[in-house]
């Protein structure tokens, strides 16, 4: 069996081993151990209090809203929420770390295990297991580019609650790592525990990468720190694979080190070698008691769990008969899924399943095309889901034809008006009145007698021509089904 993930080197095959540590900022109004605000973009050092600045004698008090969010995340990622977990201090000196230590969880994390199923293509998924999820404080920000000699410190971010989601080293390519990030982001957004806003740093990844010969022990890994977009995760890993491959193929050894990815150059560079690695001197934070949870608390959170992407995908396929591809695309982003579900529930069509299917087609066809044309994403879209539902209903109750519906769509996209209003205002209501249609057929047969004769003598392809002429005569408003039916009758 061939493994498409193996890399063919000059000296033979290599397998890539990737594990990701993702830092996800918990959605919470206040920080992990104090009441300071977490709003993004405030003036530097306006969202830090005396505790956050590590003034003597001030103590951490755990924000239980953050704990609930992390529990929810653990449940959503199929992990085991531990009834007892411990906050440890991770000690190191840095200018944007006011206490000289970060409060994290080391030996006893909140969540153990779990997994994420990533979609490799329409039909293949791969399960990536999680080692753990723990809570920790974010550090502040060092700003080096405001002054040639000075570094400025902004502590607004310092102390904000993060979840560190650690995967097993089970990814084998940059594509898998990107699919993992994408899926993880979607699940977190479904859960409402992290906004997944990578530009604002709400989701950042550290990637551990190594290469080895298949069947032999893992090679020495390099860690790429703080990559802040899914695309950069792919680029960084891709670069790193070929950097290590080059070293190994030339008989060298990969250094165990921490590297940084420079998006402008598309390259990684060494940040810290093993010799300079920190000894973090982890030990339980004596200012905090072990975090003890009750089963009831976990169950109460479990009861509030929303439907997650994989379940939604399966439901869309089973209930509405969507194709795996359509169901994946729709469930793959929370906003798309939300829009879709609102439209389906707003539809008043008799055949609900058919409406759901048509809404999916229109969403993935017309709506996506329009968004694309306007270079917008779905979050910025002004089209209400009810309008799309109404449009589909108008097709299904034969008020308008599918062709007319496309015109109505463009008009409602631009104007923001309801489709029914547009149909009435523009007189686009479909004509199913057999009298009017019969009259149009009679007129046509009178006008085009010779073509009717040709048809009757066997040139059946003229049928389409007749339909077109009738539709044209009725400004496209005739119900095509009725036209077909009556025309057949008259011509027979």
């Amino acid at each position: 069996m061939t493994n498409k993930n193996l890399i063919e080197g000059k000296t033979g095959q290599w397998e890539v081993i990737i594990g990701l540590e993702v830092h996800a900022q918990i959605i919470s109004r206040s920080k992990l151990f104090c009441g300071c605000s977490t709003d993004f973009g405030a003036e530097p050092n306006t969202q830090v209090g005396f505790f956050g600045a590590s003034m003597p004698g001030l103590l951490p008090v755990l924000n239980h809203a953050c704990v609930d969010q992390a529990i929810k995340t653990g449940l959503g990622l199929n992990g085991t929420v531990n009834l007892v977990s411990v906050f440890d201090r991770k000690n190191y000196f840095y200018a944007d770390l006011p206490a000289g230590y970060q409060i994290s969880q080391f030996t006893h994390p909140l969540v153990t295990g779990g997994y994420v199923d990533i979609d490799l293509d329409d039909t293949t998924t791969k399960r990536i297991h999680l080692t753990r999820i723990h809570m920790e404080q974010d550090a502040g920000k060092s700003i080096h580019d405001l002054h040639p000699q000075k570094t400025y410190i902004d502590l607004n971010r310092s102390g904000i609650a993060l979840m560190e989601i650690v995967s097993e080293p089970e990814m084998r390519s940059a594509e898998e790592a990107m699919a993992y990030m994408k899926k993880l982001r979607t699940v977190l957004r479904y859960l409402g525990t992290c906004d997944g806003n990578m530009e604002q740093g709400s989701l950042r990844a550290d990637a551990n990468i190594s290469l080895h010969r298949p069947g032999t022990p893992f090679g020495t890994r390099a860690e790429i720190k703080n990559v802040n977009s899914i695309r950069f995760v792919g680029q960084a890993i891709e670069y790193e694979i070929y950097r290590q491959l080059d070293i190994l193929e030339n008989g060298g050894e990969v250094d165990q080190e921490t590297r940084l990815f420079d998006p402008s150059k598309g390259k990684t560079r060494s940040m810290r070698t093993k010799e300079n690695a920190h000894d973090y001197r982890y030990f339980p934070d004596p200012d905090l008691l072990p975090l003890r949870l009750t089963k009831e608390r976990i169950e109460a959170i479990h009861a509030t769990m929303p439907e997650l992407p994989d379940a939604k995908r399966n439901r869309l396929m089973a209930d509405f008969g969507l194709s795996p591809y359509d169901a994946s695309v729709i469930s793959g982003e929370k906003e798309i899924a939300d829009f879709y579900e609102s439209a389906v529930s707003a539809s008043k069509a008799q055949d609900h399943k058919q409406a759901a299917k048509m809404i999916a087609n229109w969403l993935m066809g017309e709506v996506f095309a329009a968004l694309n044309r306007d270079s917008k994403n779905i979050e910025a879209m002004s089209l209400p889901a009810t309008h799309l539902a109404q449009l589909i209903d108008l097709i299904l109750d034969n008020t308008i034809s599918g062709k007319i519906a496309k015109d109505v769509f463009s008009k409602m996209w631009e104007s923001g008006k309801e489709p029914a209003t547009l149909v009435d205002a523009l007189g686009l209501r479909q004509i199913s009145d057999t009298g009017a249609i019969e009259k149009a057929i009679d007129d046509l047969m009178a006008r085009e007698g010779d073509k009717v004769a040709e048809y009757k003598s066997g040139k059946e392809q003229l049928f389409g021509y007749f339909v077109g002429q009738i539709m044209k005569a009725m400004q496209g408003k005739a119900n095509p089904g009725v036209v077909n039916e009556l025309l057949k009758k008259k011509l027979s």
């Binding site: 005396f50 600045a53 590590s54 003034m55 003597p56 004698g57 001030l58 103590l59 951490p60 008090v61 755990l62 201090r89 000690n91 000196f93 840095y94 200018a95 006011p98 206490a99 000289g100 230590y101 570094t151 410190i153 000894d279 001197r281 982890y282 030990f283 934070d285 004596p286 200012d287 905090l288 008691l289």
Partner: protein, 496 residues
């Protein structure tokens, strides 16, 4: 009208009665203390005196006393150990590092005192970051014990530490009582050295919020006072559940003073064998006296064993420095306190911390960093934590059989400033009877009960189960009344 000097002779509870009866005003009482502070400044008890604030507070107290709104400590002048953050008033923790540090917030313990109407005379000296047993480790110079040896009256003695300023201020009548803190004996050892009552309450009874941290899992605030009753009242006011300290105990604080009783007839007193070995004959005699007094008062005495005792001191000197090494990392010169510039960030850290910390603090940071390092963590820190659990279990077991334990507070009386042990380990031995209590989170109390051959005070220690403070005060009252320490001192002074 009492004379100024007689005002400072009153105990806290006596002064409270005098204020209530309007025998004198809070302002008069405060002025009397300010006068003594002025007179005895050479003892170096205070780092920062706050006479103006004191008089202002005393005036407000007088108003509340006359309008019948007096708090439990209304108009009582106190000294505050300089590791309790006081809003707008410099708080140094005895360190050059915080020489210019003015906290913009108030510690919970001091806030409780001000809420009860207490008056602050100033901030008192201490071993730097509470690390020491002599007060010789202060950036603000040594504190001098107000006691003198009868055989060498000119020798300057240490008051003990780390709460050296607190005990000297109270013993020299420069304050009616003082706040202190105890990580391994820092309340009890200096209280014993200066003839005072000192209690380290159960861990969590007093909030640590706003108290400059030494070792978070061991630090506990408590008072030093001249009498058991004074200590009981101060403890009650200082203690509170504090939601801003996650290790604060959510327990009801009894009115220790109202409930105090010297009736010890049903009390079972344990004498831990391990604390009685190798005692000086003087200390052995003192302990026997304590036993005799309690027996005479109706208590039963039995020998008990705490076999893990020999491991307590090494355990303490792993855990306390480990926590300290991390707690003191915040003093990096960046946001407040001392900053000594350097060419790089690392150089600034090095310059600042070399310049800002004294040698004992640096030593403990290094020990703590070492015991937490990869490769040493299991052998030192983790092992110490396990032993700590065993020590705790030892006490739990013994407290199944007895109600309190009686031990000496210190191995010796106060030593001279110029006779300070040269190696740190000998100095650490001062804490041998006191550290176990911190490791087990128990309350421990020192009561002055006797005098050494050289005329220096000696103390006995009572240890109880968690939150048994009332029992300790009751037992201490029985000892206090039996020992008649004040009488012993009067006799000594007449003879000497």
């Amino acid at each position: 009208m009492m004379t100024t000097s007689s005002l400072t002779e009153l105990s806290l509870t006596q002064a409270r009665e005098g204020l209530a009866k309007k025998d004198f005003t809070a302002t008069e009482l405060t002025k009397a203390y300010l006068a003594v502070m002025n007179e005895k400044r050479e003892l170096n008890a205070y780092i920062t005196e706050t006479p103006e604030l004191a008089l202002e507070q005393a005036k407000a107290s007088d108003e509340r006393l006359s309008s019948g709104k007096a708090g439990k400590l209304e108009g009582i002048p106190l000294a505050i150990k300089d590791l309790f953050c006081t809003k707008g008033i410099r708080t140094t923790a005895g360190s050059k590092m915080l020489d210019n540090f003015i906290p913009p917030y108030e510690s919970t313990v001091t806030q409780n005192l001000w809420n009860a109407g207490a008056v602050m005379l100033g901030k008192v000296n201490m071993d730097e970051f509470a690390m020491g047993s002599s007060n010789l480790n202060s950036a603000y110079g040594p504190v001098i014990n107000p006691w003198h040896r009868t055989d060498a009256p000119t020798k300057k003695l240490v008051p003990g530490g780390s709460s050296g300023g607190s005990v000297t201020a109270v013993a020299a009548h420069m304050a009616l009582g003082a706040t202190a803190s105890d990580t391994g004996g820092s309340i009890r050892q200096p209280a014993a050295f200066c003839g005072l009552v000192g209690i380290k309450p159960t861990y969590g009874l007093c909030s640590r919020r706003g108290m400059v941290a030494f070792a978070s899992s061991l630090d506990q605030a408590g008072p030093v006072a001249r009498t058991v009753r004074d200590a009981a009242l101060l403890t009650e006011v200082m203690a509170s559940y504090d939601p801003w300290d996650s290790t604060s105990a959510n327990v009801e604080i009894p009115d220790y003073l109202a409930n105090i009783s010297k009736d010890v007839r049903t009390l079972r007193v344990g004498l831990p064998r391990e604390y009685c070995e190798n005692l000086s004959s003087e200390m052995a005699h003192l302990l026997q006296q304590g036993v005799d007094w309690l027996k005479a008062a109706g208590a039963t005495i039995q020998e008990v064993s705490l076999p893990t005792t020999p491991y307590a001191l090494p355990t303490y000197y792993v855990i306390a420095p480990a926590e300290a090494s991390s707690n003191l990392a915040k003093y990096d010169g960046l946001r407040y306190g001392l900053r000594v510039p350097g060419k790089s960030l690392d150089e600034m850290y090095e310059n600042t911390r070399r310049e800002g910390f004294g040698s004992e603090v640096r030593r403990r940071i290094l020990i703590g960093t070492y015991v937490l390092s990869v490769g040493y963590y299991d052998a030192y820190y983790l092992k110490a934590q396990k032993v700590r659990t065993l020590i705790s279990q030892d006490f739990d077991r013994v407290f199944g059989d007895v109600d309190v334990l009686l031990t000496p507070t210190t191995p010796t009386e106060a030593f001279a400033i110029d006779e300070k042990p040269t190696d740190p380990v000998t100095m650490y031995l001062n804490d041998i009877f006191t550290v176990t209590v911190n490791l087990a989170a128990l309350p421990g109390m020192s009561i002055p009960v006797g005098l050494s051959k050289t005329g220096l005070p000696l103390g006995l220690q009572l240890i109880g189960p968690r939150f048994s403070e009332q029992r300790l005060f009751n037992t201490a009252l029985a000892l206090e009344e039996a020992a008649e320490f004040e009488q012993q001192v009067k006799l000594l002074r007449k003879v000497a």
